[in-house]
């Protein structure tokens, strides 16, 4: 598992992909942050981070699109599957590598709260809680992206399905006013942004933590199942 983790992480930084995505993320993040500062309105770092987490819907599936699709396409999955590493080991190794890149991205944004602490006032506790929510959200997106990457040989399809799927789940929350009863409670339950908002408000609940962790677990498990299933059905 550790071998795969190392290899995946290296692969990210051998190709321009990780640099480009981190660059784009930081650029948009910084530009908008500057806009917020100069607008003159009262500023809440948490609320800001909440808004820009939406960007992750596009960034993270692009980050994870190659993870399994490329292996399948170039035939290197044979090497992994015939080595003495188990399928859960392969999936976890790859997941952790993509997660690391995402965490790196997040750590880079810590410059801003640090600057705010030095030159101004930052309400530290809500900011921490917000970052925890941000990381959980991102960790879930990475798991979802890896899952869509395992479904196909084509990186483009993997990215598009990943982005599309996340937008769809996000959209369910946007139109939840149309629903009633069980459907409404499901829409609220699945809505990751709704849960993320609680973190932003400084409400750190184990319920939401468990929600994100189990979603991550679910999609990693689904990825393992897809890979196993493909072994059984491919011709």
């Amino acid at each position: 598992m550790f071998a795969i983790y190392k290899k995946e992480l290296k692969a990210y930084f051998y190709s321009p992909l990780a640099y480009v995505l981190i660059g784009i993320y930081m650029l948009i993040f910084s530009l908008f942050l500057r806009g917020v500062f100069t607008s003159g309105r009262p500023f809440m770092y948490g609320a800001y981070l909440y808004q820009y987490s939406f960007l992750l819907i596009f960034i993270l599936p692009t980050l994870t699109m190659r993870v399994f699709a490329e292996e399948k396409k170039s035939g290197t999955d044979v090497l992994l599957m015939t080595s003495p590493v188990s399928v859960p080991g392969i999936v976890l190794g790859k997941y952790l590598a993509s997660l690391t890149v995402f965490l790196l991205m997040t750590i880079l944004t810590l410059i801003y709260p640090a600057l705010i602490i030095i030159y101004g006032n930052l309400n530290i506790m809500p900011a921490i809680s917000c970052y925890i929510g941000h990381i959980l959200l991102g960790a879930f997106f990475v798991a979802f992206g890896i899952f869509t990457s395992s479904l196909t040989k084509s990186q483009v399809i993997a990215a598009v399905t990943g982005i599309g799927g996340l937008i769809l789940i996000w959209f369910i929350n946007q139109i939840s006013f149309l629903f009633k009863g069980a459907l409404l409670s499901f829409a609220n339950w699945i809505s990751f942004f709704f849960r993320f908002r609680e973190f932003v408000q400084g409400l750190f609940s184990t319920r939401d933590l468990v929600f994100f962790l189990s979603l991550i677990g679910l999609f990693l498990l689904l990825t393992m199942i897809v890979i196993e299933k493909r072994r059984w059905s491919q011709g």
Binding site: A3, T76, L79, P84, G235
Partner: protein, 371 residues
């Protein structure tokens, strides 16, 4: 070392591998022979644990692939048809990654990898990106990958496909050398290759084993015909007549050559009788110059055709003809699963065959089915 019992693999309605049995002894080099789509790769994928079998067992060094996959995988080095190399790594990095993956102890890695690179002769490209290497070198890197962790068993899927003749000879030499330390199964559709390298051959067709024997025995029992290609200047009918009078000649096929008054002949003769001299003198006597005379031997296709013909008998030929329509549909289904390249290859072979213009229509149809 390797025991395969009743191994079967179905892909939906298609039986890719049907109930095959064989064993490979320790230190043996076994050739795995068959036309495209015969089930070679599927079988190898099952031995290495890449594909699970529908039924049957594979045991390597006493461990069952279904029950203790990790133990089996530790003992196998696998070179699939497409070398599983990462194009964005250098050769050295790639081999280090593989040894990490195969859990080679850290202290042994450097020594082992430099040994392998020396043996496979990729030492001088170790710092180049795999993506920039030629097909032949990628194949070698793939082979090096299989050797990492010094597994007891090597499974090589068509290791010589797509290489130039020099590289083919080089890889064959390597395989032979590796055979001293490893048990090897390697697949091919070229008989000469197998007979040059292997001690024993398994011939597989349509997912079933049709023969297991040493290459010598196979060609002795099955290849009892020598084949010559010749070009003779002179009237076709007379030359054919004269040839058919020569003792030992079994069959003559004639084809136009494009040149005026020159015809191409494919002559089959009994293996024990050398017909080259009689042909020369006969043609000299008649005054028809021989422009070319070449021994071509029997290729796998011929032997293979003979094998299936011998086992099924002539009585079944008619039944097969009836079943042909259904068979053709089946082929189409199989083709869908394959890459376009492979399909192209098959078409080429079919075209080649058509050019050969076989003697009997019946046989011709049968060939198509075989492919």
């Amino acid at each position: 070392m390797i025991e395969i019992q009743n191994l079967t693999k179905h892909f939906g309605p298609i039986k890719a591998v049907n109930n095959i049995n064989f064993t490979v002894e320790k230190g043996e080099i076994l050739g795995f022979l068959g036309p495209n789509g015969a089930g070679k790769t599927t079988t190898m994928n099952m031995i290495t644990g890449y594909l699970p079998s529908t039924s049957g067992t594979v045991k390597v060094a006493g461990y069952d692939i279904g029950e203790q996959p990790a133990e089996v995988k530790k003992r196998i080095g696998y070179l699939p048809e497409i070398p599983p190399v990462y194009t964005d790594m250098t050769v050295k990095e790639y081999l280090y990654f593989v040894s990490d993956l195969k859990k080679v102890p850290r202290s042994k890695r450097a020594g082992q990898i430099s040994d392998i690179m020396e043996k496979i002769q990729i030492d001088h490209v170790k710092n180049r990106l795999v993506g920039n290497l030629s097909k032949g070198y990628r194949q070698r890197v793939g082979l090096a990958q299989a050797l990492v962790g010094s597994p007891e068993v090597l499974i090589l899927d068509e290791p010589t496909v797509g290489l130039d003749p020099n590289q083919i000879i080089e890889i064959r030499r390597l395989i032979k050398e590796l055979g001293k330390e490893h048990t090897i199964i390697f697949s091919s559709h070229i008989l000469q290759e197998v007979s040059a390298v292997c001690e024993r051959v398994v011939i597989i067709n349509k997912g079933e084993i049709v023969a297991i024997d040493t290459p010598d025995n196979l060609s002795r029992n099955l290849g009892n015909v020598s084949r010559f290609l010749m070009k003779v200047e002179g009237p076709q009918a007379e030359v054919t007549n004269a040839l058919s009078e020569i003792k030992g000649i079994l069959n003559i096929e004639c084809d136009s050559n494009g040149e005026e008054n020159v015809f191409k002949y494919t002559v089959d003769s009994e293996k024990d009788i050398d017909v080259r001299r009689p042909i020369f003198f006969k043609m000299a006597e008649l005054g028809y110059p021989i422009l070319e005379l070449q021994y071509v031997g029997m290729d796998l296709e011929e032997i293979f055709r003979k094998l299936t013909a011998g086992e099924e008998g002539n009585t079944e030929v008619q039944d097969e003809e009836k079943a042909l329509d259904g068979g053709a549909e089946n082929d189409v289904e199989k083709n869908e699963g394959k890459s376009q390249e492979e399909q192209g290859e098959q078409e080429n072979i079919q075209q080649d065959d058509k050019e050969k213009k076989s003697k009997l229509k019946k046989k011709n149809k049968k060939e198509k089915e075989v492919e």
